[in-house]
Amino acid sequence: MRERFRALDSRLLWVMLALIALGTLTLYSAGRNTPQAGIWLKQSLWNLLGMLLMLLLATTDPRRLFRYSFPSYLLGLVALAAVLVIGKKIGGATRWFVIAGQTFQPSELMKWVTLLYVSHRLGSKSPETVGKLELFGAVGLVVFPMLLIQRQPDLGMALSFLPILLLIPLMKGFRARWVVALLLLLGVGGFGAWKVALKPYQKQRVLNFLDPSADLQGKGYQVNQSRIAIGSGGLIGKGFTSGSQTQLNFLPVKTTDFAFSVWAEERGFLGVVLALGLFGLLLSRILDAAREAHTHAEAYFCAGAAGIFSLHLLVNVGMVAGALPNKGMVLPFFSAGGSSTLSFFLALGLIMGILHRSRVK
């Protein structure tokens, strides 16, 4: 067992524990005096379970995991297809399996499985020998589950697959024509999405983002209340369990999407800088793992993981401040939720395993 603990990277571990501490305090305060008063305890159990998984993966040879990535990917696709048929419908979206009373969201895990498999495929060869066809193939591997997820529908989750595509510039360097191609794709795709693919509620979100004050009682209400919570927190915050926006329930969905607003209101700008600094350190350390990795596949996985974590950070923290559209992307360690928590720890476990292997060799 001591061996197993030694496999954990201490820098990553301390940053992670600090973030877990902040997240637990936030959930305690957010759940106070609501029917969700025990949410911090429930989330702690998920965190504990996640850390056990992480410990298990950290001491597993990453190569064995890469070897299972293809069947896992296939299994994931089946799960995504199955959830469309037998999944539980909550609030107009079919995203969840119900297993023993607990809801489980397969798309959370699929993100990491996809990253694992794409890293494995692209990393099995030296970067300069990877051809255009293989790159397109990798894009296809990412886009296919995204399309299945968009059927649920869950645009935020689908978009969280996109950082995997950052592996291409990592391998091939940043090319101007890719940027042009990407902008073109975004332009055409965005227009097409607006016309065809976006559901009315998603269009509403975009419109709300463009003009939040136009719909203060509806969807815009949430972000507006969140901005009031954040802004009124000021430099040092209103104090633990003393945020008026949080405690008087003006702040909506405060245990999941808007958990960071609770922290920002009660701990102020200083607390925000602390939390964002910890996230920065976490991401740095993950990128360090990519630097030190033994194989290309390992390096790609770590880099992709950093990309996925960054996107969650950017979209959630930006969204609650009204700087980005209300996408419903969770913030690791802050937002309550079983599937996402376990998935994040799974990824961290893999990263720790990669760090461990680079150290012992």
């Binding site: 940043f174 954040i230 430099l235 008087l248 925000v272 964002l276 990128l287 290309h296």
Partner: protein, 630 residues
């Protein structure tokens, strides 16, 4: 990994790292903007929605009769409610709750739905003003549905029910138009008097609302109180009304439609004022049901909402003859001794005007003409005058103006004149002399309110005091419960010539002793004990060919019976006017009502008085209330 590739990968990962910290920096800048630069703005917004100033409604004053019997009380009302956070969502729960409450499940779920969308701050009221059966039901239902609650709120109680509905009126929430017109006077949801004295005495009764600064949550529920300015209770006050006499008036009219007004001759205080059919103000505190609308608001047959004493315009019939007599005496077209011969009818301007007695009264002096209510005598008087002479006399003695009673929406008495005809009938503006003949016996265009009529007879009783009838008697000293009398409204002195007055007074006495009213045995019996004076009147509602035709007519086309006068005949203390609608002759229907008023006021009230208002509350009529007011 090929070691040659590592530096390239590291360089690119270095770019990733810079981008990562760039992202963190970007977010820090956003938060600095919100939390440091715009801090005050958002702090204000957070305060605005969490800290509210809420009014504390002032307890409304009580209303007592002249002896201190409570007419309007404040009690605690119980409402069956659901707090917002406890609203049932599952349709089967709503359905079984509806079954338990014995209401329509559809209606209940609609109610819950609309409350969910619009209701704020207050819980959803399922059943308001629970009575005993309602409380029992609520307890049974609450045993099964634990989310139900019972809320206690102040409530107005009108103790006599229908006893003084029109006088007291009722309260309700301020109308939106009124509130918008005077936003500095009224606030949203404020309780104000809607009708009757609750409305006209609103400023005295309402008190001054307090306010409190509180912390509310998103649902508007009070979480903390930062301090408050207490409300100042409204004044409790006495009315001039005598509950006992009011009850006598109510019972005397019984099922008949009509009005009774009794005035105190000392100051014009209204001792009784009853409009039949009456209404129970308690019913108007709850939301109006369709049944109530049919029974009260849209009832065009008996019009229960009309306050007949001041809103009913009746042809005064023979009760108007006293004014015609007064005008004739003052115009000197007759003397009291002038004898006019009645042959049962008389021709004026080519048309026969009939007397009530077809065989004729023979030769009559003024006293006899009043006592016998001879129409021909008064046709003759009217024919000797111009309509404007009669109008001028009516104006002089206050019959053309509103009485000024302190209740809302008093109607004006209608006394015709040439000017009036021009305005009322622009197509036929000429006044015909024949019309004056009808006015001589109180028919034609003449219309008076019972209050106006009573005031005129009060003027006769007091030899020329034009009183202002009023209901407000004085404030209650809240420590001693004693009356602090307010000075009564001013009266106008228009003294009658004593010689004229003596004739009219004698005529009114004779009506009861030997004239038209003496035909009724009950009136005779009371008059023996308490001699009183008055004049009968019979106001035509429709014209008929002959008596047989009249007898066949529907009740609502029959004549109104009137009686107006004062008592006792010697040194009078009260004046009264009685109207019984569609009841036939004044002597048989209206005079006995007046006799009952006289009997109560001068005999029963003294020999068999109501229990005095003891302790906090005595409701003289209803069984003692189960709940004492605080």
């Amino acid at each position: 990994m090929d070691p040659r590739q590592r530096p390239l990968l590291r360089r690119r990962l270095g770019v990733f790292k810079v981008m990562t910290w760039g992202l963190v920096a970007f977010l820090v800048v956003i938060y600095a903007w919100l939390q440091l630069v715009r801090y005050w703005e958002f702090k204000q917004l957070a305060m605005q929605q969490a800290v509210k100033i809420r009014p504390i409604p002032a307890p409304r004053g009580l209303v007592l009769d002249r002896n201190g019997h409570r007419l309007v009380d404040n009690r605690r009302a119980l409402h069956l409610v659901i707090q917002r956070e406890d609203l049932p969502t599952r349709p089967e729960v709503v359905a079984s709750l509806a079954a338990a409450l014995q209401v329509d499940p559809e209606a209940l779920s609609r109610k819950i739905q609309s409350y969910r969308l619009a209701g704020k701050g207050r819980p959803l009221v399922l059943k308001e003003n629970l009575d005993e059966a309602g409380i029992a039901l609520a307890e049974r239902v609450r045993a099964r549905f634990s989310f139900l609650g019972v809320e206690v709120a102040p409530r107005r109680v009108y103790l006599g029910d229908e006893l003084a509905g029109h006088v007291l009126g009722y309260v309700g929430e301020v109308d939106e138009p009124l509130m918008k017109a005077k936003p500095d006077l009224y606030r949203l949801g404020e309780t104000i008097g809607k009708e009757g004295f609750e409305a006209s005495g609103n400023d005295k009764l309402k008190g001054v609302d307090g306010q409190k600064r509180i912390l509310v949550d998103q649902l508007g529920t009070e979480v903390a109180n930062f301090g408050q300015a207490d409300a100042t209770a409204g004044h409790s006050l006495f009315l001039t009304l005598d509950a006992g006499l009011q009850k006598v008036a109510m019972d005397a009219l019984g099922e008949e439609a009509g009005a009774v007004v009794v005035l105190d001759l000392r100051d014009g205080g209204v001792l009784a004022m009853y409009s039949s059919p009456s209404y129970d103000p308690n019913l108007f505190l709850n939301r109006l049901s369709q049944d109530m609308v049919d029974r009260y608001l849209a009832n065009n047959l008996t019009r229960p909402m009309v306050n007949r004493p001041i809103q009913g315009i009746y042809a005064p019939g023979s009760t108007f003859k006293l004014l015609v007599a007064l005008a004739a005496l003052e115009k000197r077209v007759v003397t009291p001794q002038t004898v006019i011969y009645c042959a049962g009818k008389k021709n004026f301007y080519g048309r026969d005007f009939r007397c009530d007695k077809p065989t004729g009264h023979g030769g009559l002096s003024m006293v006899q003409a009043i006592a016998q209510s001879c129409d021909v005598y008064f046709y003759e008087l009217a024919s000797r005058m111009d309509i404007d002479d009669i109008y001028a006399t009516a104006e002089k003695y206050g019959l053309t103006e509103r009485t000024g009673l302190d209740l809302p929406q008093e109607k004006r008495t209608r006394i015709p004149s040439r000017a009036w005809k021009r305005k009322a009938a622009p197509k036929d503006p000429k006044w015909y002399a024949g019309e004056t003949i009808s006015v001589g016996i109180g028919q034609g265009a003449v219309g008076v309110t019972p209050m106006g009529l009573a005031r005129f007879y009060a003027l006769l009783a007091t030899r020329g005091k034009l009183l202002t009838p009023h209901l407000f008697y004085g404030f209650r000293d809240d420590q001693t419960n004693a009356l602090e009398p307010a000075s009564p409204p001013a009266f106008k002195d228009t003294p009658l010539d004593p010689k004229h007055w003596a004739v009219l007074d004698e005529g009114l006495r004779e009506v009861v002793l030997s004239g038209t009213a003496s035909a009724n045995p009950f009136v005779r019996e009371i008059a023996k004990e308490i001699p009183f004076s008055g004049k009968t009147g019979t106001a035509q509602v429709a014209t008929f060919v002959d008596r047989a035709h009249y007898a066949r007519q529907a009740k609502n086309l029959k004549d109104h019976a009137l009686f107006a006068g004062y008592a006792p005949s010697e040194h009078p203390q009260i004046a009264f006017a009685v109207v019984v609608e569609n009841a036939g002759f004044g002597s048989t229907s209206a005079a006995p009502v007046a006799a009952k008023v006289v009997k109560y006021w001068f005999v029963d009230r003294l020999t068999n008085p109501l229990p005095p208002p003891r302790g906090k509350l005595v409701d003289p009529f209803a069984p003692l209330p189960t709940e004492e007011s605080p």
